[in-house]
């Protein structure tokens, strides 16, 4: 990565990387690196984990509007019996895309936004372990998301959208029963998203294991870091499983393989097992980041440390583990044998135990605290309250015999919206409010924030609360209409109206972003300071917005909540008092001698190549082959990209006063001063190429 000699003085310029001198040494002529850190180009080619995080967040919010609009269509269609707003065919596409979009293009990337932005900061690192790969993960995600979403439009409105439900049970997704391109979009799209998440998981795991600042032992890491780490491990091990399933499906559809061909003796339950071996860990992938966020917010606004830190970490690990042993609770009626059902039923129930530990520890953190109900706190407490509802209905599903009554009804729909919306999404929104000042330098407006929270919460409860009743009254899910004499009209109407209340709340959030930004600009961009909430984690120990180099110098961590303990100490009476003003402790972002990775063209180029291969697989294998060639070429481009600008050789240190390393640079070696500048790429083709083989 480039080691550009940066000489920046004014704090407001910290994000501006001055254009370096022209590249003097071009190993293979063409492969220079992009320059500059301003303008839209700098976003396309950035490798900065913070910008990547912000882009993940923005993309997720965009897709949230798409998925939400789909949800509103679902609700409109179901508002009255015999609804005819959208026909059955479109409806099937709409709810499938709603589920897929919300799970893979909203909650997961939102969590990725926080993981990217915060993980390195929370462990006190400069960046993630592999910044270029990180950028690639994002573009690859965006390629997958665009491919999937484009299915709504190509060949006519919802003509080629996936329509097999988000878990796409075979054999309904076979070519025979689903001849449109929809399922191909589903399989290829998820495969691409899987590559993105897998690469990112490896990257973040290495970051946490390897990039911690001195003194940051595992049990000094914030709970959010822990939860994100566990999430990455779940991704690491769960994604290959759905990769296998999707490959089998693609082979069936593209090349007439027999994996789900019942006529050839296949057993469709294979798909279900593979999907849910992935799918259940997946739901914890959705919720654990939110649990982490809640564990950051509640202590801050209770002005107490998190209660039972070690138990919070342990219960997170326990959830991660147990999540692997419960998948067949989605298959209680599929015809798996009674012993399996019994085993999975019982194992599922006990997941309530570690989850309960979390809920109760949050409550204990609030107990006798000084609670300030800021917007983030509202969201966090909202999670505690709403997730519990969803969790409890989850436990009632785990009672296998009664799940035979509940499964595939709106009672399930209620369950998972309570845990996903009421848990994951509220948590992530809380995170937006909480870390917004960190990322952008100003707070979102509290008034609008609270109003939007309450509107959302009320809308949410009246949308999904009634679904419990509907489900128990026998309303099945995924039905495009219901008969008038089935008695579902009332609560469906309530749910539909309320879903528009949620939409209002969501719009208020966006309005809040707009208003707050405008007001901040009008007020002459006042500085919120590094630590606007009086918080505890390392990310608050540097300027807001975080300068490109994160920290001016390494932080030597000596305990959990290091930053907080630097701010506050005890007097001789054991009373807590301020030890030093925040401004003295926090870095001001003025150290400019930190060497940062240079931007790179290749991550986005590779992302484009993947998009090409994706469409190629769906429409024309020659295109896919061309895309593959392009990809391989880009991988070599990536490898041969100069590690940095040789003229700037030298300053590897992050201490501005230490220039001792000038002599080590070897401008003639391809790798540049950073020594083994190429080895990075050596193992990358393994992932990238393999991913594109299909």
């Amino acid at each position: 990565m480039t080691v550009t000699d940066r000489t920046i003085t004014a704090p407001e310029e910290t994000l501006a990387l001055p254009a370096g001198p022209a590249i003097a040494h071009r190993p293979l002529g063409v492969f220079t690196r992009p320059q500059g850190s301003e303008g839209w180009r700098s976003w396309l080619f950035t490798v900065d984990h913070k910008r990547i995080g912000i882009m993940y967040g923005a993309a997720a919010l965009f897709f949230f509007l798409v998925g939400g609009a789909e949800a509103l269509f679902i609700r409109l269609q179901l508002a009255t019996p015999n609804g005819s707003v959208i026909g059955a065919g479109t409806y099937n596409g709409v709810f499938t895309m709603h589920g897929v979009t919300m799970v893979f293009l909203v909650i997961m990337p939102m969590a990725a936004a926080f993981a990217n932005y915060l993980l390195p900061l929370q462990v006190g690192a400069r960046d993630v372990a592999f910044p270029r790969l990180n950028a690639f993960s994002f573009w690859c995600f965006l390629a997958g998301g665009m491919l999937l979403t484009s299915s709504i439009l190509v060949g006519g409105w919802f003509q080629n959208a996936p329509d097999g439900g988000w878990f796409a049970y075979a054999p309904n997704t076979g070519l025979l029963f689903s001849p449109s391109k929809g399922i191909d979009f589903y399989a290829v799209g998820l495969q691409i998203l899987g590559i993105a998440s897998l690469v990112s998981a490896i990257n973040l795991i290495v970051t946490v294991l390897n990039m911690r600042t001195p003194g940051m032992s595992f049990f000094r890491m914030p709970v959010l870091t822990w939860m994100l780490l566990i999430t990455q491990f779940l991704l690491l091990f769960a994604l290959p499983v759905i990769t296998v399933a999707l490959f089998l499906l693609m082979f069936d559809r593209l090349w007439d393989a027999n994996f789900f061909n019942v006529e050839a003796g296949a057993d469709p339950l294979l798909w279900q097992h593979l999907f849910w071996i992935f799918g259940h860990p997946e739901v914890y992938i959705l919720i654990l980041p939110a649990f982490g966020i809640v564990s950051e917010i509640i202590p801050t606004f209770s002005r107490k440390p998190l209660f039972g830190y070690h138990f919070m970490v342990a219960s997170g690990i326990a959830i991660g583990f147990m999540g692997w042993g419960v998948w067949a609770h989605h298959m209680f009626t599929s015809g798996v044998g009674p012993l399996s059902v019994a085993a999975f039923s019982v194992s599922t129930m006990f997941i309530a135990v570690p989850t309960g530990v979390k809920i109760l520890n949050w409550l204990a953190t609030m107990y006798r605290g000084r609670l300030r109900f800021t917007t983030p706190m509202l969201y966090a407490v909202g999670v505690v309250s709403m997730f519990t509802i969803g969790g409890l209905s989850g436990v009632t599903h785990s009672i296998a015999p009664s799940d035979t009554q509940q499964t595939d009804t709106y009672y399930i729909v209620a369950h998972f919206h309570y845990v996903i919306f009421g848990g994951a999404l509220l948590g992530l929104f809380g995170g937006f409010y909480y870390w917004w000042p960190k990322a952008f330098g100003y707070k979102l407006n509290e008034g609008w924030g609270k109003a939007s929270f309450w509107v959302m919460l009320i809308g949410f409860n009246f949308t999904f609360g009634p679904m419990h009743i509907l489900g128990l009254q026998g309303m099945s899910r995924r039905i495009a209409t219901y008969r008038a004499d089935e008695g579902f009209a009332l609560w469906n109407m309530v749910a539909t109206i309320s879903s528009f209340v949620i939409a209002l709340g969501v719009l208020m959030f966006f309005w809040n972003v707009y208003v707050s930004t405008r007001n901040w600009k009008r007020a002459g961009r006042p500085d919120v300071g590094p630590d606007p909430w009086d918080a505890r984690g390392l990310e608050w120990m540097t300027a807001s917005p975080v300068p490109e180099h994160n920290f001016d110098e390494d932080i030597e961590v000596d305990r959990l909540d290091h930053f907080w303990h630097r701010k506050y100490g005890k007097d001789e009476n054991g009373r807590i008092v301020r030890a030093a003003p925040t401004s003295e402790i926090a870095h001001d972002g003025s150290n400019t001698n930190v060497h940062l990775p240079s931007p790179s063209y290749w991550p986005i180029v590779l992302g484009g190549g993947i998009l090409l291969v994706g469409y190629g697989i769906i429409y024309n294998l020659w295109l896919a082959a061309a895309g593959l060639v392009f990809l391989v070429a880009s991988i070599y481009g990536w490898i041969l990209e100069p590690a940095d600008d040789p003229d700037a050789a030298g300053h590897h240190d992050d201490h501005g006063d230490d220039h001792g390393g000038d002599d080590h640079g070897d401008p003639d070696s391809n790798g540049g001063p950073s020594g083994n500048g190429e080895s990075a790429t050596a193992d990358e083709p393994a992932e990238t190429e393999e991913a594109t083989v299909g």
Partner: protein, 420 residues
């Protein structure tokens, strides 16, 4: 937050609380009929399930109130007053505002690990007992076994009166599963194409119909009645319209119904409307629909000597090269219409065949007791996919017959009306 906003928020919450109460009251007073409700079981299995889950609902309710109560109490008790002022400094604490800094309490942690564990252990014991009891699906009281075959988007029932599913069924019907009251009826659930799920909520939970597999299930009804059902595994385009009904008849009536079903239909007299309808039917419909005694295998393009329809949808699997059930796995099959008029609903029970046949009209002799839902039936015959989305080109669902004139359709309906 500004004063006005605050007032607004309070007002809305008040309105909403009031609204909820009104709504719940309305929903209770206007006792909507819920024919698919899982909360009012009528069969043994359904009751066992309800008895298992109801106490668990109560436990969950208690946990619910404890947690929500705790949230509200903590909120009320420990909030810092005035903490919602809208100024920019919001969120800062004064330097002396410190509560006691508790880090944790191992005994508490252990307590709230063990208590739920014990609670769940108890629940799991009841669950397992119920599970294995319910799984004991070998029906013994009656020998009738019904092979239930799901396909896009209707149900076929093959009655094996002697309980032997290896031999051809005694008769075949569709969408309305008739059973004697009070006895366990064994079901053998299969599928001809994709996965479906058989579910009569008032009688028992659901069981998936998975192609290539056959699943045992059992239903029983305590009292006579018509119990609605719905296919609950997403099965493509018309999944939402794939419903069914279970009809429980007193033993004597069931016997009467059964004896009628075994009989074949008669070819109507030529020259009558029904006779003309029969002619049209033979040309336009009989290549898919079987009417015992009226259509023959020849109608279906098969060998007239061979069995009229292939009841054994998979048989022993002998590999694709043996060519066993290749043709049967995309449904391509259509409901057996021999006794169409004895059913209360048609086309995956999505439509009523009779206008005033509520769930309670005596089920036998429907044709005499209720009025035929003629317009719906005619519309169906004329353009089925318009009434219920289908994909007949791919052998899924019934094709449109828009070439038929109104008289043709009248005649066909006249013919169909003889099928009781």
């Amino acid at each position: 937050m500004s004063k006005r906003l605050k007032a607004l928020v309070w007002l809305t919450s008040l309105l909403i609380t009031a609204g909820t109460v009104v709504l719940i009251v309305v929903s209770i007073v206007v006792t909507d009929d819920h024919p698919l409700s899982t909360l009012s079981p009528v069969g043994r299995q359904g009751r066992d399930i309800a008895e298992l889950i109801n106490p668990i609902f109560i436990v969950a309710g208690v946990v619910f109130f404890l947690v929500q109560g705790a949230v509200l109490a903590l909120w009320w008790r420990y909030r810092v007053a005035g903490s919602d002022s809208g100024d920019g400094e919001f969120g800062y604490y004064d330097d002396d505002e410190f509560p006691e800094q508790t880090h944790g309490n191992n005994r508490l942690e252990i307590a709230w690990t063990i208590v739920p564990t014990v609670l769940l252990a108890v629940i799991s014991v009841f669950t397992l007992v119920a599970l294995f009891a319910l799984d004991d699906v070998k029906a013994s009281d009656e020998d009738v076994v019904v092979t239930v075959i799901g396909q896009q988007w209707w149900w076929e029932y093959q009655y094996h009166l002697d309980g032997n599913t290896d031999s051809p069924p005694d008769f075949v019907t569709a969408n309305e599963l008739v059973i004697p009251v009070g006895v366990d009826i064994a079901l053998d659930i299969k599928s001809r194409d994709v996965i479906h799920s058989f579910w009569i909520p008032k009688l028992n939970g659901k069981r998936d119909a998975v192609p290539g597999r056959s699943h045992d299930w059992v239903i029983q009804a305590d009292e006579p009645g018509r119990f609605r059902g719905q296919c609950t595994e997403f099965c493509g385009l018309s999944h939402g319209y794939m419903k069914m009904v279970a009809v429980a008849l007193p033993t004597a009536e069931f016997a009467q119904w059964r004896d009628n079903q075994i009989t074949s239909a008669d070819i109507p007299q030529e020259g009558t409307p029904a006779g003309d309808g029969w002619a049209t039917f033979s040309q336009q419909c009989a290549n898919c629909h079987v009417i015992n005694g009226v259509t023959s295998a020849a109608n279906r393009g098969g060998d007239p000597e061979s069995a009229p329809d292939s009841w054994d949808i998979y048989g022993e699997f002998n590999g694709p090269s043996a060519g066993t059930y290749t043709d049967e796995l995309v449904a391509g099959a259509a409901p057996n219409l021999t006794h169409l008029m004895t059913r209360g609903t048609f086309a995956g029970s999505a439509f009523d065949l009779y206008l005033n046949a509520g769930d309670h009209v005596p089920y036998l002799n429907l044709a005499d007791q209720a009025t035929l839902n003629r317009s719906e039936l005619e519309a169906w015959i004329y353009n089925a996919p318009e009434r219920k989305p289908a994909d007949a080109d791919d052998l899924r669902g019934m094709p449109a017959r828009t070439g038929l004139s109104p008289t043709d359709i009248d005649n066909v309906v006249a013919f169909l009306s003889t099928l009781d």
